[in-house]
Point group: none
Chain length 225, copies 2
C-alpha cells in the first residue's frame, strides 16, 4: 500500500491487518518500486494523489516488472479521466476517497478470489446470515428459536455462499469447489442442495438465495458482517 497520509495509512494498515492481510505500508511514492522489487506481493493499493511520484507512474513501473499483479487505485475524487487512465494501466479496480473500508475489503476479497480461486478466506468458519448464526465446523445454523444440523455438502455449499455473500457465486465455481473438476456429468445434485438450503433459511424473510439464471446463485443478506 502506497499512501502518503500518515493517519489514513495507519488506520488502513491496522484495519487490513486485523482482517488477516499482511500489509506493507510505503508512505513515500519514491520508495514504492524498490519496495516492490524487494518482496513478492499479492496485491498493490496505490494512492493516486501523491506528493512526488504519482500513483499512475508507480503503476506503470510495476506493470513493467509484473503484468499480472492486481492493482487497486485510491483516487480522491471521481475524476473520470483518472479512472480511465487507471484502467488503461491495467488497474483491477479503483476506489474513491472517502470510502467505505468494508467495500475496499470486499473488493480485495473479490480480486484475491479471482486470482487464487478460493484459497483466500477459506479459513473463516463462523458466519452471520440475517437472524442466523452459522458454524461451518459444527455444521449448525441456529436462530433464537430453531437449530438445524446440516449435512457436509449442505454446509460446504452454504459456506461458499457466505464467502460470496451479496455477490454471485458462479455455478461452476461451486461445482468445482465441492464436487471436484471432473465429477459432475449429468448431475443435478446441487440444485437439490440449494433447495434444501432455501428451506432452512426461509424462517428469515430478510435472507434470500437468489438465482441468477445461467450463471449462479447469490445469498442476499444484510451488509454487515
Amino acid at each position: 500500500m502506497v499512501e502518503d497520509d500518515r493517519n489514513f495509512g495507519a488506520v488502513m494498515q491496522s484495519y487490513l491487518k486485523i482482517h488477516d492481510y499482511d500489509v506493507e505500508w510505503i508512505a513515500d511514492g519514491a520508495h514504492a518500486i524498490e519496495a516492490f522489487e524487494r518482496q513478492a506481493f499479492d496485491l498493490c493499493i496505490l494512492d493516486v494523489m501523491l506528493p512526488n511520484v504519482d500513483g499512475f507512474s508507480i503503476a506503470e513501473a510495476i506493470r513493467e516488472r509484473n503484468e499480472d499483479i492486481p492493482i487497486i487505485f485510491l483516487t480522491a475524487k471521481t475524476l473520470k479521466k483518472d479512472i480511465m487512465e487507471g484502467f488503461r494501466l491495467g488497474a483491477d479496480d479503483y476506489i474513491t476517497k472517502p470510502f467505505d473500508s468494508e467495500i475496499l475489503l470486499m473488493k480485495i476479497k473479490a480480486i484475491m478470489r479471482r486470482k487464487n480461486g478460493l484459497k483466500n478466506g477459506v479459513d473463516q468458519e463462523l458466519f452471520r446470515i440475517g437472524m442466523f448464526g452459522f458454524n461451518a465446523l459444527t455444521r449448525v445454523i441456529r436462530s433464537d428459536d430453531r437449530e438445524y444440523k446440516l449435512s457436509p455438502k449442505e454446509s460446504e455449499l452454504l459456506k461458499l455462499l457466505c464467502l460470496y455473500k451479496n455477490e454471485v457465486l458462479p455455478r461452476e465455481e461451486a461445482l468445482n469447489s465441492i464436487w471436484g473438476e471432473e465429477s459432475y456429468f449429468t448431475t443435478r445434485s446441487m440444485d437439490v442442495f440449494m433447495s434444501k438450503l432455501r428451506k432452512y433459511l426461509k424462517d428469515d424473510p430478510s435472507v434470500e438465495i437468489t438465482t441468477v439464471h445461467g450463471s449462479g446463485y447469490m445469498l442476499k443478506s444484510d451488509i454487515r458482517n
Copy 2:
C-alpha cells in the same frame, strides 16, 4: 470487562464464568483503570458506550500501561468510525451488540491462542466435565457417587475431547494423535472407544459426545441455551 448495563453485564459475566473464564466486571468506567492496576488480567473487554469515561479513553489509558494486553471492544451498533478508532488504539477485535455470545467466545479463544500459542492446554491433566472430575494422569473420572478407572486409550481419547471441549475434534486429529500417522488402515477401534466413553458419561445428562458425521466428535458440556 467494563460494561455499564447491569443486566447485560451480569449475563455476560455468568456466561463467561460458565465457560471457565475468571471475569471481573466493572460497571463504572471511572473505576476501570484502578481495577486494571490492581490485578493482572489476560484480556480486556470494553464497552465503547459508557456514561462517564468511554471505552476508547479506557483503552488509551490501558495501552499506556500495557502495550500487549488484548482488548476487545463492544460497540452498540456498527459504527465504522468507532471500529476504526478502536483499531487505531490497538484493539485486537471488536464485537457489535447485539451479538452472538458464541462468537465472542470463539474470538476470546482465538485471541488467547494467538497469544499463548498452545502452551496453554496440552499439558493440562485435570478436567471438569459436567458433574465429573477427570484426572488424565491417574486415568480416573469421578462424580459424587461413582468412580471409573479408564484404560490408557480411553483416557487419551477423553483428554483430547476435553482439550477440544465444545469444539469439533476432527476424526483425523484423534487418529493421528493416538494411533499415529499410518496405523489406521481398516480400524474401527476408535468408534468402540467412543462408545465406551459415552457409557461412562451417560450418568450426567448435561454432558454429551456429539457426532459430527463425516468430520469428528464434540464433547458438549456446560452449554446453556
